[in-house]
C-alpha cells in the first residue's frame, strides 16, 4: 500500500515537472488567441528560447541571465509574428509555421557554430542551471504519515520555474476577468470593431498580448534547457508547443481549465515514463516506441472527442482592418 502511494506521489511529482513548460506555453497561446491572434508558433518560440537560454547560461554561468536571454529571443519572435499578423495582415498559420521551421533549423546551426558540439550547447551545472528548491522542514514534515510524503515528494523539490508557472495561472485569470486590460483583450478577440468604436487601439492591444506571449514562451523554453534538462538539444521541444496549443483548446481558452488540461497531459507523459520497461500483467512489456506515443495519441483522442463543445474567440486568426 505505502509503496503504491509512493509510486503515485512520484508520478504526481513528475506530472508537475513535465506540465511546467506546457502550462507556460498554453497561457502564452491563450493571451495571443484571446486578443485575436492564432499562434501555432509556440513550438518555435519555446525552442528558440531553450537555445538562447542554454547558450547564455553556458557562457555567463547564470541560469537567471539565461532565462532573460531566452525571454528576449522569444519576445523578438513573438513580435515578428505580431507584426506579420497585425500590421502586415498576413496569414497567421503561415507566419507561425515559418517561425517553427526557421528556429528548428537555426538553433542547432548556431549551436554548432558557437560550441562545436554537434548542435548542442555545453552541459550546464551549478548556478548555470535552475536547481530544485527544497522546502523548509522537509525532513521533519516528511516523517508525518500520508501528508508528509506528499509535502516532501510533490510540493517540495521543484525548480523556481515550476512554481512560477503555477502562479501565472491565477494571475492570468485575474488579468483576464478582473482588469480593464483583460476586458479589452477579450473584446479584441471576440469583436475588434467593438473595441475600435470604443476608441481603443486594437493594434496596441494585440502587440501587448504578443509581448506577454513572448515572455511566457520564453520562460517555457528556458525551463526545457535549464531546469528540466541541462543543455540545449536539437528538437528538444518535441511537439510540446503543439501539446500546449491542444491543452489551451481543450481548456476552452480559459486559464484554470487550461491548467487542468496541461496537468492531464503532464500526467500521461509521466505515466509513459513510468511504463517504460515495466512488465505489465497480461500485456507484458510495452515497447518504448509505443509508450512514448501515449501523450500524443491521448491528445488526438481528447481533441477528437471534445472538440464539439468548445468555442474559440470569434475573431481569432482574422487580421483586423479598419474600413
Amino acid at each position: 500500500m505505502s509503496e503504491f502511494y509512493l509510486d503515485i506521489l512520484i508520478l504526481l511529482d513528475s506530472t508537475l515537472r513535465l506540465a511546467t513548460p506546457l502550462v507556460l506555453a498554453a497561457l502564452a497561446g491563450l493571451y495571443a488567441e484571446r486578443s485575436g491572434i492564432v499562434d501555432i508558433g509556440l513550438e518555435g518560440k519555446m525552442l528558440g528560447s531553450a537555445f538562447a537560454a542554454a547558450a547564455a547560461a553556458a557562457v555567463t554561468g547564470s541560469a537567471w541571465l539565461g532565462l532573460l536571454t531566452g525571454i528576449g529571443a522569444s519576445v523578438v519572435l513573438a513580435l515578428l509574428h505580431g507584426w506579420v499578423s497585425i500590421h502586415q495582415r498576413g496569414n497567421q498559420i503561415v507566419s507561425g509555421t515559418a517561425i517553427n521551421i526557421t528556429v528548428a533549423g537555426l538553433a542547432p546551426t548556431l549551436a554548432n557554430h558557437w560550441f562545436h558540439l554537434n548542435g548542442q550547447t555545453p552541459l550546464l551545472d551549478g548556478p548555470a542551471r535552475f536547481q530544485v528548491i527544497t522546502w523548509p522542514w522537509v525532513e521533519t514534515i516528511g516523517a508525518v504519515p500520508v501528508i508528509g510524503p506528499l509535502y516532501a515528494e510533490v510540493i517540495s523539490g521543484h525548480s523556481a520555474i515550476t512554481y512560477l508557472a503555477l502562479f501565472t495561472v491565477p494571475l492570468a485569470a485575474w488579468v483576464l476577468y478582473r482588469t480593464r486590460f483583460g476586458l479589452r483583450l477579450r473584446a479584441a478577440g471576440e469583436n475588434p470593431e467593438a473595441v475600435d468604436t470604443a476608441g481603443i487601439s486594437v493594434y496596441a492591444l494585440r502587440y501587448k498580448a504578443m509581448i506577454i506571449n513572448g515572455v511566457l514562451c520564453g520562460i517555457a523554453g528556458a525551463s526545457l534547457s535549464t531546469a528540466l534538462g541541462a543543455a540545449f538539444v536539437r528538437d528538444m521541444s518535441a511537439g510540446k508547443g503543439f501539446l500546449a496549443l491542444a491543452a489551451m483548446i481543450f481548456g476552452n481558452w480559459k486559464p484554470v481549465p487550461t491548467l487542468m488540461a496541461c496537468l492531464l497531459f503532464g500526467f500521461v507523459d509521466a505515466l509513459q515514463g513510468r511504463l517504460q520497461g515495466v512488465d505489465l500483467p497480461l500485456i507484458g512489456e510495452i515497447p518504448f516506441q509505443f509508450t512514448i506515443m501515449l501523450p500524443y495519441i491521448f491528445t488526438v483522442v481528447i481533441l477528437a472527442g471534445f472538440v464539439g463543445r468548445i468555442q474559440a474567440p470569434r475573431a481569432s486568426g482574422i487580421p483586423y482592418e479598419k474600413e
Binding site: R180, E193, A194, G199
Partner: protein, 541 residues
C-alpha cells in the same frame, strides 16, 4: 448649399449666419470625402436641430454611410467642417466623437457577443484599471438609464443569447452610458420585426422627449413619416433636399430620392391565356412520415401570361413551397405538372438543373444562400446553374469568351452598378446583386420564373426596374410566380394572389379586389368567406 425649401425659416438659415449656436446639435458644412476617383460626399450640408429626430434618406451608394462615418469619427473629411453644439470639432477617431457627445448604433451591432450588457457598456469606459470597484456604479447607471428611456434588457445574459431587438437596446443603452447626447441610428429597423420596430419608435420618442437628438438613417419611407421631424434626402453624394416631415409626402420623397418621377413603365396588359403552365395537385410536405406537415394539400394552377402572387406571414410554408416547385425538395404526396409534364411526385422529382433545362427559372428568396456565391465574381455568378449548358462549356471546359460577352450584356441590360464583371458578388449592393441574379435567369428566357422576395434588400430605383421586368415577362405570354412578404408589391404586380397560412392555401383574391384588409385577415388564418362577411371566427395563424 442644398436647395433649402419649405422649411420654417430659422432652422434652415445658413448655419454660419449667426443663428444661436446651441439650436443645432450637429452642423455639417460642405463635407467632402473621396475614395480614389469616387466622390462619396461632394459638399454635404446638414443641420440637426437639438432635441429633434432628423432622418437621412437615400438609395444605397448615395453617400449616407460615408456621412455618418465622418460624423462618428471613423473617416476624416477631405474638406468641410463639423460643429457640435456650435463648437467646431475635428474627429480623429470615434473616441473623439464620444467625447463630443455623439454615439452611433451601427447596422451591424458593435457588441461583444460573449459579454453581458454591463461588460459591453464598460468596454473603453471602465473608469479604472480594475473592474470590480467600477461595476457597482456602472450597474446603477445602466439601470437608471434603462428606466428613464424604457429600455428593458436583462443585465446578466450574454448579449449573444439575446434576440436581435434586445441586442439593439443594448447598443442604445451602451451609447447612452457613454454619455451620448446625439444618437446616430443606422438603418435601425432593418433587423427588426414590425412589432419590434414600433417598440423602437417608442424608445426614440422617449429619447426625443428627454432632449436627445437623433439622426435616423433609413430607406423606408413609412418609417420616416412615422418618426422623423425633418428629413434630408441624399443623392449621388449630395444632400439634395431637406423637408419638414409634416409638410411632405412619401410620393414627394420617393421622387427626390431617385431624382425624378418614380414611373412604372410597364403595365399589365391583356388577359392571361387559358393555357396552363404549372399545376400543383394536392402537394404536401412533411419532414418525416407522420410528422407535422409544413405544406398541406396545396393545389393551384398558373397560366401563361400571368403573375401569381403568394402572400403570407413569414414562416408559413412559403420557403418550402418554393423549394418543392424549384426541385430542391421532393413532395411527400401530390404531383407537380410543368407544361404538361409531371416533374415531381412522391417517387421522383426533377432537380433544379433539369427544371432549368425545361425552362423554369428560379430567383431564390435568400440570394446569398441559394442564389449566388458571394466570394465569386459577378461574371462567374452570371452563369451559375447554367454553367453546364452547351453555351458555356464544352466537355467540362468553360468557354470564357462566351461567359464574358454574356456577362457584359447582363450588366449593360440590367444597369448593374458598378459595371465590373470581376468584382466579387458580395461587394455589390443588395439591389445590384438582385439585378445580377434576375438578369441571369432572364438571359435564358425561362417559360416560367419562380421568384422569392423579389425586392428584399433592394433600393427604390431598382424595385421599379425589377417589377417592370416581371410584368414584361407576363405581357410576353410567359408566367411568373412571386412569393413576397410585401403586400404592396404583390398588389402592384400580381394578377391573382393566393394566401398561405400554416402550410395551406386559405384563399385567393384577384388583384382588383385585393386590399391590405382582406389579405391581412387571411394571412392571420381566416377563410375568404369569413373575410367577405366581416370579422368572423378565425383559427389563428
Amino acid at each position: 448649399m442644398p436647395p433649402a425649401l419649405d422649411v420654417d425659416g430659422a432652422s434652415m438659415d445658413s448655419p454660419d449666419a449667426g443663428t444661436s449656436a446651441s439650436a443645432f446639435a450637429i452642423e455639417a458644412i460642405g463635407l467632402e470625402k473621396s475614395f480614389g476617383p469616387v466622390r462619396a460626399n461632394a459638399g454635404v450640408n446638414l443641420a440637426l436641430r437639438a432635441g429633434s429626430v432628423h432622418a437621412i434618406i437615400g438609395e444605397n451608394g448615395a453617400g449616407k454611410s460615408t456621412l455618418m462615418n465622418m460624423l462618428y469619427g471613423l473617416y476624416r473629411p477631405d474638406a468641410g467642417e463639423i460643429r457640435v453644439f456650435g463648437e467646431t470639432r475635428h474627429f480623429g477617431s470615434p473616441h473623439d466623437a464620444h467625447e463630443a457627445g455623439i454615439g452611433m448604433v451601427h447596422q451591424h451591432f458593435m457588441l461583444v457577443e460573449d459579454f453581458t450588457l454591463l461588460e459591453n457598456a464598460m468596454l473603453g469606459f471602465e473608469g479604472g484599471a480594475l473592474l470590480a470597484p467600477q461595476k457597482i456604479a456602472a450597474t446603477a447607471r445602466l439601470k437608471e438609464l434603462a428606466a428613464q428611456y424604457g429600455l428593458d434588457v436583462p443585465m446578466d445574459t450574454k448579449v449573444g443569447d439575446l434576440p436581435v431587438g434586445l441586442q439593439q437596446r443594448v447598443e442604445i443603452l451602451k451609447t447612452l452610458f457613454r454619455g451620448a447626447e446625439i444618437l446616430i441610428l443606422d438603418e435601425p429597423t432593418g433587423v427588426l420585426m414590425p412589432q419590434e420596430s414600433e417598440q423602437l419608435f417608442q424608445i426614440i420618442d422617449a429619447l426625443r422627449e428627454q432632449g436627445k437628438t437623433i439622426l435616423f438613417i433609413s430607406h423606408k419611407l413609412p418609417e420616416i413619416m412615422r418618426i422623423a421631424d425633418n428629413v434630408t434626402v441624399m443623392r449621388q453624394g449630395r444632400a439634395v433636399a431637406e423637408r419638414v416631415v409634416a409638410d411632405t409626402s412619401e410620393a414627394e420623397l420617393a421622387e427626390l430620392i431617385v431624382g425624378g418621377k418614380v414611373a412604372r413603365e410597364a403595365a399589365r396588359s391583356g388577359a392571361a391565356s387559358p393555357t396552363e403552365i404549372l399545376r400543383l395537385e394536392s402537394v404536401s410536405l412533411a419532414k418525416k412520415k407522420d410528422a407535422k406537415e409544413t405544406l398541406s394539400d396545396i393545389s393551384f394552377s398558373l397560366h401563361q401570361g400571368e403573375i401569381l402572387g403568394i402572400a403570407g406571414v413569414a414562416g408559413n410554408g412559403q420557403s418550402e413551397l418554393l423549394e418543392v416547385i424549384t426541385g430542391m425538395r421532393r413532395p411527400t404526396t401530390g404531383r407537380i405538372i410543368f407544361e404538361g409534364e409531371v416533374v415531381a411526385d412522391a417517387n421522383r422529382y426533377a432537380d433544379a438543373r433539369e427544371l432549368r433545362a425545361l425552362g423554369l427559372g428560379h430567383v431564390a428568396e435568400d440570394r446569398l444562400r441559394n442564389g449566388a456565391v458571394a466570394v465569386m465574381s459577378a461574371e462567374d455568378n452570371a452563369i451559375l446553374g447554367y454553367h453546364g449548358s452547351a453555351r458555356y462549356a464544352r466537355k467540362g471546359i468553360l468557354d470564357r469568351a462566351a461567359i464574358k460577352s454574356d456577362c457584359a450584356a447582363l450588366i449593360r441590360d440590367n444597369d448593374v452598378r458598378p459595371p465590373l464583371p470581376g468584382l466579387a458578388f458580395g461587394k455589390f449592393s443588395g439591389g445590384n446583386q438582385q439585378k445580377i441574379v434576375i438578369g441571369r435567369e432572364l438571359l435564358h428566357s425561362p417559360r416560367l420564373l419562380i421568384v422569392g422576395q423579389p425586392t428584399r434588400g433592394v433600393d427604390i430605383g431598382a424595385v421599379t426596374r425589377i417589377h417592370d421586368q416581371l410584368i414584361t415577362m407576363r405581357n410576353e405570354g410567359r408566367a411568373v410566380l412571386v412569393v413576397s412578404s410585401d403586400l404592396d408589391e404583390l398588389m402592384a404586380i400580381a394578377d391573382r394572389i393566393l394566401v398561405i397560412c400554416e402550410g395551406r392555401i386559405v384563399g385567393e383574391v384577384a388583384a382588383e379586389e385585393a386590399n391590405e384588409r382582406n389579405l391581412g385577415l387571411m394571412m392571420a388564418g381566416r377563410r375568404l368567406e369569413d373575410v367577405a362577411d366581416g370579422p368572423g371566427a378565425g383559427n389563428g395563424c
